[in-house]
Symmetry: D3
Subunit: 336 residues, 6 copies
């Protein structure tokens, strides 16, 4: 069996209005949980990998419910810590036809925001592990959380793990006084694999991509631009040898084109573009992309196949309601 | 703030079969309320305008439930009258793919049918108001209701309000012995703004539009035809200076093209055509169109922008279940 | 097999608010059908008898849905007639704890109201039948409907059927200018079996029961009073040889005592009192009582057992939502 | 009225996961019933024909529930037999976008599997009947069931009925040691009408269709191939004078092209191709196709119209959840 | 019509697990809103009074949804203020049989917590008003909120309003360093009417009630104790001339005894005890009690009748799910 | 932490009709899983113990869904085996008021039925374990399953585990030719703890209890009878030093008295009787009783406290829908 994979990050309660209703029309909410790294962890468990998720939860029944949901899909949570505070949550109205989705975040004062160096015994957590994954959301929420991240990645590197980061830039989270460019480069310097969009690479590493357009009006990708950008990333953080770009082109609320590229050893691999015109729920499809690629890489697949698995995972995620992808490894393999 | 807008007409209970079921399969109905003028009133309230709805309801708990629903969305109902009778209702099966919607009307003997001149103190209702709107449904249901309409529009005109009418021709309602052409011209003669389709203008005013086809097989609109028709309308009811045409082209049960024209001062404005291939519920999208244009006109927008707002409101309506549009002014503005 | 039983009367659509909500809180209604005679017909079919229901429905999809629901439980409807008009309906809020149920009737202008002599070929309907049952609701709704009833019972008598009537007095239905005392005696004169409460016998036949109280404060029944009343009924309509009283004592919205008496050949039989403190839906429990007794009588059970079957059927009805009892003959037999 | 039509086959309980969920996410199942011949029977009843369904059920409450559901739609079941065993069932996850549907069959040890010659008095069942229909599923489940089928078709033929068979090849059902080619020819030799796809004709009759492709990449049908194949069938089972091919081209989980051909008297008729891009539930659309054609043929329509009715019925089925089509004859006629 | 009544306090989102489930089993929450003063406001509006609710909400869509829900029941909200922060919420598991309800509060950082003197123009709000009501929850949440309360009651007093306070002691809210005894007396000194339980009067005013037991083991109330306590309250806050005690005796999760006393002019009035053994939702029944008494007092009913109305309102609340009572004035009057 | 506890037995899918409906009225089933030993395992996990469940499942998606549900509540399943066959299931109608529940079992041909010696490596499973629990259902289903049980208990005994058995006599399961008295004594001879009712002890061990009545008409337990019976059991299987009796007295479908006794070292301990008059779902309350006692014994509680914990767990189970108890250790402790 492949070695254990640990993902670390925040997980939130998600309250969605059913049946295309608006908030004022709701008399019930669909309840689920989600968060970038948790979504990756669930995908990996559904693929049959040994997946552990690490987070910080409030010591109440909602935190306990969150753990139960993770266990349901086979995610292990032996090292989750509890700290005073609340469970972050977000309210969501679905997108439909030409109407956009509406999201109201409610994550001030969460337990996760108070995670700090020393709260987690990284040595113990990471010793038996083969891969460590986190996203740029954790260093965004608080200065101490960023420090905890650094503690994690340096420990992971020392112990010889593969380290990956999904930049996941969220403008409204960076409120403690620093910009991504001040924090992310040091973290990415310890990573082997990095995931992002062109905007995210720019925010996190200051990459400049003059004239770059992900796709032109005929939906042809700017492959030269992608290759140049990946090389720029590799120059800035040379430890990063696998550099992944995600592509989502939104033609309508429920009609997306999905694809991406993966650069390694000077070579740019390009995924097949999936045209999904019946998107049920696109939240978490970037996380499914990450999970598909990690699945490929931990199973010894080459760069091209790993990317193909990621793209398929990303596309399949759109068929599930909730943040969590329920795709199996078998379905993934059937797609490629 | 803009002045108060009063709409006057019938409101009915709507009982819809959920999940694409047929009537014999239903063990529950979705419950909502709707009616052409009520739909306009709710849209206007959701846009933030001071919207009052005037109708006649039975003095029972279902009538009260109807008022509660209107209040929920901020519609004022201080002058609603109650009369013996019942609440009109209609049963509905959703359209899906190549299957048409099925509607069973059940509106004989409603309280609204007995509305007559003298039932409403129009002087009191309309004095503090800037705009009065009604549709051709009211004069269709009964001779006395037509007289009440005339009482309303003459009072409104005397008090200096803007008056608008949506012709809304419904063949099966005109059962008391008169045809629209015998009733509508006198009412329209008091209007400043009129809404309709080519068929409705023909029925209400006898307009003849030889050779007119709303769109040709390439979906190009017959702009000359629209302009000539508007001028004909203007000649017959010269008080009407804003003449609006609505266009709905049904490509499939859930696939509609929506657009329209607005004529003013000899100039025909044309709305962008919206192609909605995931229609959730098209009932009331004509009323949303009306509401969008009234919103524009009461906020001092020019003819072109008012029409654009109407078309956007119409298109967005298709994303909501139920007659009532839940679109906000902000969403409307974002579309144009 | 026992001979066919025909019941004749109105059936209405029932729209119930779920989950103890009030009308203004409802966004869905539970949908079912019900009516005194239809409820009897469904019970009989669920007991395994050959049960036919006869009514008049509107020629629309709601009438068709009603027939489908009757067929589902094995009720035959070969002679149902359709006439213009609407489907009668009623809206209902459940009773809960100290809060009463709320009912809003909406049955003006129904197809059934227009039933008149000649609409139904009673000769054809009743020829192959053993038992004919109707209730006092039909002669209440219209003078012509009362005449149709008389046509039915005289035909039934001539053909040698057993005829039964449940008086079912509903004050608000007798609006066409006559009182029950002017109409019911002639109808009851053709019956073999009659069902009612003390109030109903008083309204229908003018029985005077001075000093009678169904139960005293210790829940002991006034058996002498019941016997005297039955004898009075038998004197007035001597053809009626089986005279049934129903007893419902409401201790709370969901706590009822149920029982009754059956008089035949000068002998009063008394049912066991059922104490139901978890009533789910009491609508139609009187109809289940009627059905249980008819089941007993058509299966050759004696007076005492037939009454016991009726009381058990009545009590069991309270465990089903909707007007229709779903009790099987086997459950009934297990109770006695 | 047209003569009675009897269909004979297995009916199963269907448990579907709602809302695009997977099995592990389900906390409720939608419940319905279905089976190839039962689906045909329900369609025919919904078209207003006198439809009888014959099957073998377990003597328990689930079998009774199944009968109730059939009665609901007007299907008659006077000759259904009960035998020890269980009700077959299948679990189903819906297809959505690029995700396939998942089906778990659970039909070992069903009552139907034990149907054997002598269990049904075919003489009595078929005497008053005009048409007998079955499918290739029955001879697949057990050797004794195949024998019962043969008993049925020979009786039907002797009594002069029209006999039809839908080949309905299901590889995983033929487990008792024989192949379709060993069983089906003898059964088909007694049929007047046969339905199938090219693969099914090959499996059942050994037809060889070298180079045949139902549609080319431009969606043009191989009409010569269809004609040749039909003639081959006719040569092998000359009693079969109406030979129907069904065509389903799956462009996506919810996007199907549907059509077919009907050969009679040396002439190949071709149905209009329906392009359904919002398939709600495609299970049973082949059975609806069969039912549409039987409807046409029993109403004296010619070959071309019968085929058109079948294709419309097939397309409309995709708009209903569950195996049973709820299309009415009126809707069918409106389509052609 | 009676004069306007203003209530002021926090309102929260309530997320309840349906069907007796626990949090980890929930895949949906029932959504409603509630808060002590909002509950009073909704009850008053449902009684037909002119009811205004004043609070502080976050400027987001959840705050807007809250206003819509209040409008639905006719509560006016013209002076609601918005401030940065979040909407407070609480998660709830229902009590059932011997299992207690579970509540998880999540109200740190709410907009309401930041209410401070000067945020509300009390002069403008209260000028046209006849009655001002608040509870001890507001002064509990923050020192500034307590100051805002004092600002409100002194303005109300100056303007000649009737002022009432429900002490509503919640131990876990008083976290800013003060105890109720340090804050409440000054606020209560401005009140005309005060509501509480014996424990609450002790916490708020330091009343000592040696030997007092609300009810003895035979459910007889300690009337002397209640009278003495009321006189003690009146001595400490002599402005308070109506002193109300609420009594809830919990015999089981869904079985409560409800009653209370009202002291005025040296006379103790005692309410009938309601025995509710089918409690559907007891949250807010104390607020219904308050509303019933205010309804009585503002309609000129005497002390005894006002108390009786309060007790009936309290008992009826237990039949509604959610915090809001849906009782009408008519139902209330029928109870007394 | 206490040592791991392994339970071994069958788990089935449970399909329940919601809302008091009957099978023919159902259009959805509530879905859950349950089985005597699985229920014990879930209870133990919810109490915070290390609980492993061992069973045999079919290798399909329904088996996988079952595992996911067990994981959700923290039950470990590392040694579950898969064998060909099906998932056993049962259909259930709820009991309500005087109507009994209806259960239709469908468990022929399950994978579990084929469990045989050698299928499970008991040495590996039980080596790290402290307690092994099974019930009399496993030896009932098949001769090979009984042999597997014997293999398990002899291994467990050799390894020094505590072994417990819940006799759980189900008459309709013992169909392979043997009676409990031929099989159970040998199994019980290896047990330390045994659970049962008086009937079960009689069936399994041939205990004769002349004149024994669990409770008399005043609900007083026959303590002498219980003590004598326990001593008889102990004489027959002297290894069994803890002998537990369960008591359920059904006063109505939703009104049960629950209690029990525990005998150890010649001393009979008696549990408080719980009177539950609002039973939501009593399935699995005997399993909760077992789990509560195991929880007490593995946490070093004495006989009296362990019994009290069992009785509380049993009573609390009745508040949860589904077989699985969701009670926490904290709630249990609060009850005693």
């Amino acid at each position: 069996m492949s070695k254990k994979i640990v993902t670390f990050g925040e997980i939130m309660l998600r309250l969605s209005v059913p049946c295309y209703k608006r908030f004022p029309q709701a008399n019930s909410f669909n309840v689920s949980f989600g968060g970038s790294e948790a979504n990756v962890a669930v995908s990996l468990a559904n693929f049959g990998l040994h997946s552990e998720f690490l987070t910080c939860l409030p010591p109440n029944l909602i935190g306990k419910a969150c753990l139960n949901e993770l266990h349901r899909y086979g995610v292990h949570t032996p090292h989750v810590v509890t700290k005073p505070g609340r469970m972050g949550l977000y309210y969501m109205e679905e997108a439909v036809a030409m109407r956009s989705s509406q999201v109201v975040y409610d994550r001030a004062g969460t337990s996760f925001d108070s995670v700090a160096p020393g709260d987690i015994d990284w040595e113990e957590v990471l010793a038996p592990v083969g891969w460590f994954h986190f996203s740029g959301i954790t260093p965004a929420v608080a200065s101490t959380a960023a420090d905890a991240c650094l503690e994690a990645v340096t420990t992971a590197r020392r112990l010889g793990l593969t380290v990956s980061c999904d930049i996941n830039f969220r403008r409204n989270l960076w409120t403690y006084g620093k910009q991504p460019i001040e924090v992310m480069p040091e973290l990415l310097a310890h990573c082997d694999v990095v995931f992002g969009t062109e905007l995210e690479y720019k925010k996190a590493l200051g990459i400049d991509m003059p004239g770059f357009k992900a796709v032109d009006t005929d939906y042809r990708m700017d492959l030269d631009g992608y290759a140049r950008a990946a090389e720029d990333v590799n120059r800035l953080v040379p430890q990063c040898t696998t550099i992944v770009f995600a592509l989502r082109n939104t033609l309508g609320a429920n009609h997306h084109l999905l694809g991406g590229t993966l650069w390694r050893d000077g070579c740019l691999h390009v995924a097949k573009i999936y045209n999904i015109d019946d998107v049920k729920d696109c939240v978490g499809c970037g996380d499914a992309y990450v999970a598909g690629i990690i699945y490929g890489m931990t199973n010894g697949r080459d760069a091209k196949e790993s990317l193909a698995l990621g793209a398929a995972a990303c596309a399949l995620k759109n068929t599930f309601l909730g943040d969590f992808s329920q795709t199996t490894a078998e379905e993934l393999e059937n797609c490629i």
